[in-house]
Symmetry: C2
Subunit: 295 residues, 2 copies
Amino acid sequence: MFNQLGVIGCGLMGGSFALALKRAGLVKRVVGYSKSPSTTELAKRLGVIDVAAESALLAVSGSDIVLMAVPVAATEATFGAIRHGIKDGMLVMDVGSTKRDVVDTARRVLRQQIGNFVPAHPIAGSEQSGVAHADASLYNSRQVILTPLPQTQPDLLRKATDVWTAIGAQVLRMTPENHDAAFAAVSHLPHLLAFAYFSAIANQPAGRDFLSLAGPGFRDFTRIAASDPAVWRDILLANREEVLKQSQRFRFALDALEHVMLAGNTQALEDLIRSASDARGAWQIGGVPRGPAVK
Amino acid sequence: MFNQLGVIGCGLMGGSFALALKRAGLVKRVVGYSKSPSTTELAKRLGVIDVAAESALLAVSGSDIVLMAVPVAATEATFGAIRHGIKDGMLVMDVGSTKRDVVDTARRVLRQQIGNFVPAHPIAGSEQSGVAHADASLYNSRQVILTPLPQTQPDLLRKATDVWTAIGAQVLRMTPENHDAAFAAVSHLPHLLAFAYFSAIANQPAGRDFLSLAGPGFRDFTRIAASDPAVWRDILLANREEVLKQSQRFRFALDALEHVMLAGNTQALEDLIRSASDARGAWQIGGVPRGPAVK
């Protein structure tokens, strides 16, 4: 049970975390701050937060749990703004989709407060961003990755694990390096490929006619191409090396398929497709089964 | 109204067409043939067909409408088998996902009966193949592309248009060349990319661990990677030139994105992503709106 949750960035992720803790009776009071006052006001009007703070530092002061739900690019400035407000026993978490960059920034900016920071990546989200879409169930049956540092205080790591578990999430721990390598493969590269594919189709002379013929397969394959440009710009740059490594592996696999197509090697082509098809057929989404959702 | 529908290939596509015509009261009798007798028997037991024929030719004889719903690779053999059974006024259609190859084969094999053939591609399907999944509504609110030839008999083209329209489909006409170029872009390339991507992820040392972390975005992006290997082997080979052309356009778009990532050009990266994101956000699935379905 916490006395006060400080939410910095009252958007979908921060707002949903606040609602989830309230619904679970895990927090007495939620203080929120967003860069845009209108967002903070809306969050208060919607009952997502109880008090609108004038600054990130004010949202932190008096809180025993803090969630930073700001764009990756705003991480450094936010750490700088709250640094002097971080007191003993205060749990500070983020929700960033990349972890090495966040951890490096935390080390650099938080210094002696680094032990209070538990880097977190909830595998949840929605194409619909903004506090208006905040949902107390957003993290239910979702995976949350924690990437603790050697300096992370064990009791705060335990608290972080408990609070995510209490709102229905499945908590996993890994190193920031393993996290970024894994999500380059299963999340960041697919977004890069979807952006590239949609651009290639849309930016050709007959693109408009082609798009009018696209069906359900195309719809699902390209859904993530509609993701937020600023968010994905930051993710792709922050995790550039791992994404490019995965892209190289993808290009090799594409080369192999095109090679057998060009060679007219029917059996080899079927074998390559079948290995992918069988593997995908056997795959199931991680974490606890739940209905459709988007990330 | 038709007296007899001859279905060659009593799978999902052929079976669903039979059920749709029956439900719409457009046919008195359905005669079906499948390469595997057990399939034909199952189709009869399920009431998808009324009579099980011993051969493709027998399924055609006495029919005034024939649907060939066989794998693309079986098209030539099927045309050869039914050729002498095609009588005046008989409408013969296929359901192939590629059209130039089917049309070339029809010209070569059907010869003077070519006028009875109306090449068709219904943009519908399911990951669940087989007559057991046949559904009278499969083509409802779907697009059906007809690619008539100069020799196609106008009255049969009209009949083909009427029957698809009567079971709820939206009929479009284009040349076989335009059809294959369009579907290379919006259907065949996405399948190739999904096969390549899934192979690349699954076939790396940490692949198994990575897959356990994949979320809803990955699920939707890779759904088509589970498609039937034999079907897609045939499609990718039959439409190889157009698919490789589209793949080249895709590679250029991917190169452009990776170039600005490597250059750390934040604004250029955001601009490229935004153009794709905005275009995808504005896109809607063609044809009459309907619930989720898969192709």
